[in-house]
């Protein structure tokens, strides 16, 4: 590695947001990740992989094992941001990064050719939702919504944000309550509200939705329903249709169901959860005709955890990547043989149909020992046309560019 980084982690509590409300709850009858598990699998050792919440030193980040197509290169862009997940870029090039378990929001800026990592906020409850509009940073932590005005002018002392929680009035359920957030082309703050279980009965106008708001939290609109939990979406650069990844449910078998990609042409359409994934009727719920629902645009693989998804609009990459959708697949836990742990490209033809799903960034998964050494969660194109990829397991961000 040819660059050096300075990481400023764990700033004084003076910079912290007020602690997230720690609602003391009664012991739940089952943790969400176990719901839907058949009795026959009560002794299954399958369980979510433990998060890593400490800094991974650069010489231990597996960048050398990563592979990209001919003509591209991948390098370590930033490290020292444990739990790094969703990314958004400010007007001056600061990259803001959300997290889940560790409760932090990072700001990564370039100073003299090096990256500096600051912890902007901490002690938040799963602040995964990060979006920037007009120089203001929006942070969504389950139901809490905060806005930091002019954030890039006060990275060292962000102060207290404006609290928009009451205006947005989001559900407080924590499971699948972590957000992916982005502004639509017409300026609406858009986010997922995942289903608060594996598979269950729920209010279908409230959960398993993608919803949008005016930036002040007013004028809620359902963009899509019947999408179990979308932690990645973007608007097609030409058609402006919303394309969203979705996480399929657990405990229905190694190959069932698929994670899916959804093309959302009209607001409010029903994409089928919990009843159907494509033509697959989930036996755990009342049976419905799957033809009632909008069909997925593509299958992304069973249990792969298809998350961050963004269209490429730059000119650095060859023409064939223009207006194509890059998707980070964080990798499976509810499957005996690991799958995912990569970044793929959904190739979308002129007819708007998905012609194929192609690998783009691989090397995190080791099939020889059914193990992994990193977990890509989000992709983000920078203004220079390079592509950043966040790696939650290593608290790292990679940069992919042309050689």
């Amino acid at each position: 590695m040819t660059f050096r980084l300075s990481a400023t982690i764990g700033l004084a509590a003076a910079l912290a947001l007020p602690p997230a409300l720690a609602a003391a709850q009664q012991a739940p009858p089952a943790p969400a990740w176990q719901q839907g598990r058949p009795d026959s699998m009560a002794a299954s050792p399958l369980a979510p992989h433990a998060p890593r919440m400490t800094v991974t030193a650069p010489d231990r980040i597996p960048v050398a094992s990563l592979k990209v197509p001919e003509g591209f290169k991948v390098e370590l862009w930033a490290h020292g941001a444990p739990g790094a997940r969703m990314m958004a870029e400010g007007p001056n090039g600061t990259v803001f990064v959300g997290s889940r378990t560790i409760g932090r929001v990072y700001a990564i800026s370039e100073e003299g050719g090096q990256r500096r990592v600051r912890t902007l906020a901490q002690q938040l409850k799963q602040p995964n939702g990060i979006a920037v509009r007009d120089g203001n940073l929006y942070v969504i932590a389950i139901n809490q919504v905060f806005r930091y005005d002019g954030i890039e002018g006060k990275l060292d002392n962000p102060g207290q944000p404006t609290d928009l929680t009451a205006a947005f009035n989001l559900p407080t359920e924590e499971h699948h309550g972590w957000k992916f957030a982005a502004f639509s082309p017409d300026g609406r703050l858009t986010m997922n509200v995942g289903v608060p279980c594996n598979v269950c009965e729920f209010d279908r106008d409230r959960f398993a939705t993608i919803v949008s708001f005016r930036p002040d939290g007013s004028d809620r609109r359902i963009e899509a329903k019947g999408i179990r939990n979308s932690v990645g979406f973007d608007w097609h650069p030409r058609t402006r249709e919303l394309w969203a990844t979705n996480n399929g449910r657990d405990w229905a078998g190694n190959e069932t169901p698929n994670d899916t990609l959804h093309r959302i042409r009209r607001p409010g359409e029903d994409h089928g959860f919990p009843f159907c994934v494509g033509s697959w009727n989930d036996p755990a719920v009342p049976q419905r005709e799957c033809s009632e629902f909008v069909q997925p645009a593509a299958e992304l693989g069973p249990h792969v955890a298809a998350l961050g998804a963004r269209f490429y609009t730059g000119t650095m990459f060859p023409e064939q990547y223009r207006n194509q959708l890059f998707i980070a697949r964080r990798g499976s836990w509810n499957r005996e043989k690991l799958s995912g742990y990569d970044v793929v490209v959904a190739k979308i033809g002129a007819d708007g149909n998905v012609a194929g799903i192609e690998p783009f960034l691989t090397g995190f998964r080791d099939d020889s020992n059914n193990g992994f050494n990193g977990r890509p969660v989000d992709v983000m194109q920078r203004r220079d046309g390079s592509l950043l990829v966040s790696d939650e397991q290593n608290g790292a961000i990679y940069r992919i560019s042309r050689q």
Binding site: I9, G10, P19, A22, A24, Q25, Q26, A27, P28, P29, A30, P31, A32, W33, Q34, P38, S40, M41, A42, A43, S44, P45, L46, A47, P48, H49, A50, P51, R52, M53, T54, V55, T56, A57, R60, P62, P82, T101, I102, G103, R104, Q122, Q123, A252, G253, N254, E255, T256, E336, K337, L338, D366, N369, N370, G371, F372, N373, G374, Q393, N394
Partner: protein
Amino acid sequence: MTFRGSLLAAALAAAAAVSPAAAQDAAKGAVLAEERGCGSCHGAQGVAAQAPMPSLAGQPAEFITLQMILFRERLREAPPMNDLSQGLDDTQIEDLAAHYAALPPGPPPDKGQADAAKAREGEALAAKLNCGVCHLPTYAGRAQIPRVAGQREDYLVHALTQYRDGTRRGSDTNMNAVMYGVTDAQIAALAHHLAQR
């Protein structure tokens, strides 16, 4: 569709993060533990000699690291550990974890006499609750899941009661679900069984 059991066990035995081992230094961790006085509660060699302190000797390093981060970030409230963990950076926490992971586990000096009937009751309950699936049949623990074999009985009662009552969580709510509805008498039996292992 069902999983094939034999494959499952084989696959899971191998499924693990292969991220390179963290840059842990047990020797530095030992010095730090001395400076911070960790041993005054957890024992000079990581085997706690007073109630209701947990023994740390032989705990998986990942378990200790994760809990220390949760303490330091005040994401898990457990006084006095929240205050005691302030000022430790990630590397120091990993060093401490490596130190305690490398110490040989052992029974506390004030370990009580075994009550065979109580231990049998606890053993039956542990089998029913599938404790050995995550904590391993030896109860040695793995990754983020703690060693419970030979842990102090009073600490086990304390921790299991907290899980049962929803006043403590792990990195998820699994233990809360496992302990849901378990009675005080059953917790006592379970703790006795584990402590005697």
